[in-house]
């Protein structure tokens, strides 16, 4: 049986207990400290009767506490359900119910959830270990030891349920096993050539697949995660890269769009950076070139994947970027990609079709939704819903995605969730939410509202209402009023027509100033 991420982590803690697992602020959390915290969480859960396979939700920001709780849940035999810590009560409640979660670990008090769900607020006096979400001094009373394999989870057991869409209607909880997570983390560590001494800047949220893959691949390799930085202040981030001797910079296209202007004439010494990775939506080859011109020693990996495949499906080896610009590369280890037609027949090189994937990272299905699972899982293959083609050498090129998720920077927004919140306004007859192209973030949220007869719509009032019920990145930046929504003859919403209308008209509510690359 293949070892799980938990096995791998404990082995690192045993081998190199003094090595840093996290750099937060000026503090360090060593592998030894972190392993003691993992045990603290596991022992707390076990002592309080957590049954194997029980779901434990996490509402935590990036930091050592996130890793301690995640790996602690696994050590106790539980299934982790990571959620956005900025989510509002309504969406948290919906997902907790769907997952059937009986525990929540949160960084701040959680209110308004169902009775019977046990909440552990980190930093409060009743927590299993005396650390807060931001700092982790480590309880030295628990010794570092190599775990007894008999008590650790089997690799075919469920490890994570990761939600990818709306809170009501039909939430999709991607079920990933320990084997899924371990194989994908090892494949990533292999092509990035990760090892002890690696230091990644972890700005991508750990609760999404990409951020989780950064966390897990680095802990598997014995590397260090540098946390506590945001893209809001790029100069501070560059200073941190220099100070911490950061070697890896994982990002989404907006990460690099925000950093690129600051790389011009920078006074920071960034030669410590060995590689950068990019996934989470298409990135213009020109932006890759702009970053590479300023940091010519950097190995830049363009990648592709999805939550249903744990995280990573393909990567473009940096030395092939010059002759394959725009390609998402070749499959990760042990994974096969094919381009197929609507009937499922394999298409030859050069023809556009749906991308199908097979390999050890492919999910077990959607939680409590056999119908949706059967729809995308066919004879061991995953239908990704993404469109693309392959060249004669087997390099993949993406040509649009079928998913309606809006990608705002590193965040994901389900249009349905925002539409549900808009529909609660008394003067809204109908609302549609779409992704609007944004030169920095890739996309931002736009809303088109059809008012009830005679009613007036005030965009700011709509935005305020959304901010009360949704995380900030889900609040529509653009609010437009229309007499009707464009639909096809069969009544299906024509979202691309709405998006084009808003993009052509420009911002209505807010101006936006970008900086030159």
């Amino acid at each position: 049986m293949a070892p799980t991420l938990l096995h791998g982590f404990l082995e690192q803690a045993f081998r190199q207990p003094q090595a840093p697992a996290f750099a937060c602020g000026t503090g360090r959390v060593s592998y030894g400290d972190l392993s003691r915290q993992v045990r603290g969480v596991a022992e707390h859960l076990r002592a309080n009767g957590l049954a194997p396979g029980s779901r434990v939700a996490m509402l935590l920001p990036n930091g050592p506490a996130y890793a301690a709780v995640l790996y602690g849940i696994w050590m106790a035999g539980g299934v982790a359900v990571p959620m956005d810590p900025s989510a509002r009560t309504g969406s948290v409640r919906g997902r907790l119910r769907h997952a059937g979660a009986t525990w929540v670990f949160a960084a701040s008090p959680v209110i308004g959830i169902d009775a019977g769900v046990r909440v552990v607020t980190l930093g409060a006096p009743d927590t299993p270990t005396p650390w807060t979400a931001a700092q982790a001094p480590g309880d030295q009373s628990i010794p570092v030891r190599w775990g007894h394999t008999g008590r650790l989870p089997r690799s075919d057991a469920l490890a994570v349920i990761s939600y990818t869409s709306g809170t009501t209607g039909r939430p999709k909880g991607v079920m990933l096993s320990h084997a899924n997570l371990a194989s994908n983390a090892r494949a990533i560590a292999a092509y990035l050539d990760l090892g002890p001494g690696e230091r990644a800047l972890a700005t991508l949220p750990f609760h999404y697949a990409y951020g989780a893959s950064v966390l897990n691949s680095h802990l598997a390799a014995g590397g260090c995660l540098v946390v506590g930085e945001t893209l809001v202040y790029p100069e501070r981030l560059l200073a941190r890269i220099q100070r911490e001797r950061v070697t890896g910079l994982p990002g989404v296209p907006s990460t690099f769009a925000l950093l690129a202007p600051h790389l011009r004439d920078t006074s920071h010494d960034l030669r410590c950076l060995r590689y950068a990775t990019q996934a989470g939506g298409p990135m213009a080859p020109e932006l890759v070139r702009a970053v590479s011109r300023r940091l010519p020693w950097l190995r830049f990996f363009v990648m592709y994947g999805q939550t249903e495949a744990t995280a990573r499906l393909s990567y473009l080896p940096p030395h092939r970027f010059a002759d394959k610009p725009g390609s998402a590369g070749v499959p990760v280890a042990d994974t096969v990609l094919e381009v197929r037609d609507r009937a499922g027949g394999r298409l030859p090189a050069g023809r556009v079709g749906e991308i199908w994937a097979r390999g050890p990272g492919i999910m077990r299905g959607y939680w409590r939704d056999p119908e949706a699972s059967a729809d995308v899982l066919r004879d061991g293959w995953l239908r990704t819903g993404d469109l693309g083609w392959m060249d004669a050498e087997g390099f993949l090129y993406l040509r649009g995605r079928r998913s309606q998720l809006i990608k705002v920077g590193a965040q994901r927004v389900s249009p349905e969730e925002v539409e549900e919140v808009l529909a609660r306004l008394p003067y809204v007859a109908e609302a549609a939410v779409i992704g609007i192209a944004d030169k920095v973030l890739g996309q931002v949220v736009g809303a088109v509202i059809v008012p009830r007869p005679g009613a007036a719509v005030e965009p700011r009032e709509v935005q305020r209402h959304c901010l009360e019920h949704l995380a900030r990145h889900k609040v529509p930046r653009y609010v437009r009023v229309a007499a009707a929504l464009p639909r096809t003859a069969s009544g299906k919403l024509r979202r691309h027509v709405l998006a084009r209308g808003i993009e052509q008209a420009g911002p209505a509510v807010k101006s936006q100033q970008g900086r030159a690359l």
Binding site: S86, T230, L231, V232, Y233, P234, E235, R236, S254, L258, P261, H262, R264, S267, G409, D438, V440, L441, V444, R460, E461, Q463, R464, L467, R472, H473, K510, S511, Q512, Q513, G514, R515
Partner: protein, 85 residues
């Protein structure tokens, strides 16, 4: 309207979607309160440049200058004083 009032009403209106001044204290950190994201900060800089006629250099894009109403006011005043001298 003073500079502070202008800045406060800009942030209230565009990021908190309200005109209630009690929603934001002078010293409240935009980052800690989750008020401003990475594009929000660029919009604020554009607002400073247009409204107050200053130029914000890349190296000046740090929280000490931009992360609260109080620090914005102090920053603009420093920039103006430097431009006059």
């Amino acid at each position: 309207m003073t500079m502070k009032d202008m800045l406060r009403s800009y942030v209230l209106e565009n990021y908190l979607f309200t005109d209630d001044p009690s929603a934001l204290a002078d010293a409240d950190s935009f980052l800690d309160k989750g008020i401003i994201d990475s594009t929000g900060i660029m919009e604020i800089i554009a607002f400073l440049e247009v409204e107050f006629g200053i130029v914000v250099e890349d190296r000046e894009m740090v929280p000490e200058n931009l992360d609260s109403i109080a620090s914005l006011v102090a920053f603009v005043e420093r920039k103006r004083a430097a431009a006059e001298s």
